[in-house]
């Protein structure tokens, strides 16, 4: 054993320190989960705070706000997932029908751009465009005579989900097509030729060859994304949300953050995180099972 380790000491030096960094930043925070079972206070720390059992979880399940926030989280990730899925496949199919290579490449280049722009900038543009104060959307609506008063988009709580979904679509739609375009490009050209000989038009070829060809990849990606349903980001909600639409914009992570920092109840915030992780593990394991059964594919 010792000799084996000695023979590969260089390899060990090349991996152990980095494992240590990983453990420090990814596993040590798990230790903090103890806080969810304590009445944590900053001055006493984890070792000195009194334990409180499952109190915080009991509170959590009695908290109306928690259900509201959970609803927001699930609805928004569901909406993003669905629109991105349908949109990306649709766009990939359309792009595939384009004959002019230059045109195709230009459209691709343009639709990929927002993926590389930060959420801060994107949110800024969204808020600016929707602003009642000379925002371009209101300008257009007023000029077309659809509305007479500028609409205060970001003050209407119930509109937040739609705005958020569209903003996300704007940012990621083009980028999500990459994988589908690659799959279509990899489909057997003979099938298209055979269909052509049989007199199939472009739409028929799209529907009978491209779409079924995409399905295995699409289903797999959909399943994997379902596993992350509760793990949606919070950046966009943080940036687009405000006090007037908070009942629709707040998601679990932001609620936890808010509770911990503004109210100072760290334990409750951690309890929310623990709940989220528990659901996420169940989802990922369930989804992995489903993927394995469906396609003999292992997600991890």
């Amino acid at each position: 054993m010792y000799r084996k380790l000695r023979a590969q000491y260089q390899l060990l030096i090349m991996s152990i320190p980095f494992m240590a960094v990983l453990v420090l930043f990814s596993y040590v925070p798990l230790w903090g989960w103890i806080m969810a079972f304590q009445n944590y206070s900053l001055s006493h720390g984890i070792t000195g705070s009194p334990f409180s059992g499952f109190n915080h979880f009991a509170d959590l399940f009695r908290d109306d706000r928690f259900y509201l926030v959970l609803r927001n989280t699930l609805v928004m990730s569901g909406m993003s997932l669905a629109t991105d899925f349908v949109g990306a496949i649709g766009l990939a199919l359309l792009l595939n029908e384009v004959r002019l290579r230059f045109f195709k490449r230009t459209v691709q280049t343009i639709t990929y751009i927002p993926h590389f722009v930060s959420w801060v900038v994107m949110a800024n543009i969204v808020l600016g465009s929707l602003s009642p104060d000379g925002g371009i959307v209101n300008e257009v609506l007023m000029r077309l005579g659809i509305v007479h008063e500028p609409i205060m988009f970001m003050s209407k709580g119930s509109w937040f989900w739609a705005i958020h979904t569209l903003a996300g679509l704007w940012k990621e739609l083009g980028w999500s097509t990459i994988i589908y375009l690659a799959v279509i490009a990899g489909l057997n050209a003979e099938m298209y030729e055979a269909a052509e000989v049989d007199g199939a038009g472009r739409l028929q070829k799209m529907w009978h060859i491209s779409v079924p060809g995409l399905m295995p990849t699409a289903v797999l990606l959909l399943i994997l994304a379902t596993g992350n349903l509760i793990n949606t980001g919070y950046e966009s909600q943080f940036l687009l949300g405000n006090g007037l639409n908070i009942d629709y914009s707040q998601v679990l992570d932001l609620y936890a953050l808010d509770y911990s920092f503004s109210i100072g109840d760290y334990s409750y915030g951690v309890a929310i995180s623990v709940f989220k992780s528990a659901v996420s593990i169940l989802l990922v394991l369930g989804v992995n099972q489903a993927a394995r059964r469906l396609g003999g594919f292992k997600a991890f």
Binding site: S15, W33, W170, I179, D253, K276
Partner: protein, 298 residues
């Protein structure tokens, strides 16, 4: 090949749809750019669409002369350069170690790594960890915690595994250890994968604002994106005040001038995004390749 009539209609519809999509994607950026070049006081009259009505460099002059913005820009550049170098080097070395089947305990390390992809302690314990490590308000918090990327590690590892085994064997015969083989043979041959991954890491570092929002309040260490978020936040607050009938204090400050918060924000935004837009056309192909390598083989 001649197209039938319906086919031609379909083609036209497709081109129109895609043109519309490209326009809708690009236009908001264009509008922001135009506003950043338009006189602020003129912008507040509304109606700026495709072209500046009262062209000016003024907004950019104010932004570029602002010390905080200049400082934040420097912080962002330093963070992106140092962070990318650190992350790529660390991840590459780590992946090389992990790509060797003889490494003792490799399987367990791998499980440890992959678990972190699905699972984390949550924001608050993480915050307390960074706090406990004394990394609050340091440059390190901007580059170290995210240095080891598991996705990138998987991509690197796949790449290393596909290298011809003969290369490393001959290096070994010539007396190279693992270090020598890695730095002299493997790394110089990994140009393409390093390029792709560096770009991803760099863009993520440049665009990240949340880390600094949580962990940095020393104005000298705030990166540009976080500063932009602060500015934006201030604007939203004033807008809310206005919508509730309050007066806009920032507007009062700027009343005497032609520059407004809106035009300044737009100019700052453009300065923030410019580096990415500038390199984007040259590296787009790498990005696409990176995605495909990551998703198909990972």
């Amino acid at each position: 090949m001649r197209l039938s009539r319906t086919e031609r209609t379909v083609q036209v519809v497709i081109y129109v749809l895609l043109t519309l999509l490209a326009f809708l994607t690009l236009y908001p950026f264009w509008n922001s750019l135009v506003i950043s070049f338009n006189l602020g006081s003129d912008t507040s009259l509304g109606g700026i669409t495709f072209w500046p009505r009262a062209f000016t460099w003024e907004n950019y002059e104010v932004v570029l002369r602002d010390h905080r913005i200049a400082q934040a820009f420097v912080v962002s550049v330093a963070r992106t350069v140092a962070g990318t170098a650190l992350s790529i080097l660390a991840t590459a070395v780590f992946s090389y170690g992990m790509s060797k089947t003889e490494l003792a305990g490799r399987k367990y390390y791998m499980i440890f790594c992959i678990v972190t992809l699905y699972f984390n302690g949550g924001l608050i314990p993480y915050f307390l960890l960074i706090h406990g490590l004394g990394m609050m308000n340091t440059f390190w918090v901007l580059i170290v915690p995210g240095a080891i990327s598991i996705w990138n590690m998987i991509i690197f590892r796949t790449f290393f595994k596909e290298m011809p085994a003969g290369l490393e064997e001959s290096a070994k015969i010539d007396g190279c250890g693992h270090f020598g083989t890695f730095f002299r043979i493997v790394l110089p041959l990994s140009g393409p994968v390093i390029a792709s991954l560096s770009l991803f890491v760099a863009v993520n570092l440049w665009n990240d604002w949340f880390t600094a929002t949580l962990f940095i309040n020393n104005p000298k260490l705030v990166p540009i994106q976080s500063l932009l978020q602060e500015i934006m936040n201030a604007n939203t607050v004033t807008e809310q005040l206005r919508s509730q009938g309050g007066s806009n204090f920032l507007d009062k400050i700027f009343q005497a001038r032609t520059v407004t918060t809106k035009s300044l924000t737009m100019a700052t935004m453009m300065v923030t995004t410019l580096p990415i837009i500038a390199v984007y056309p040259f590296v787009q192909r790498h990005f696409v390749k990176g995605v495909l390598v990551g998703s198909l083989k990972g």
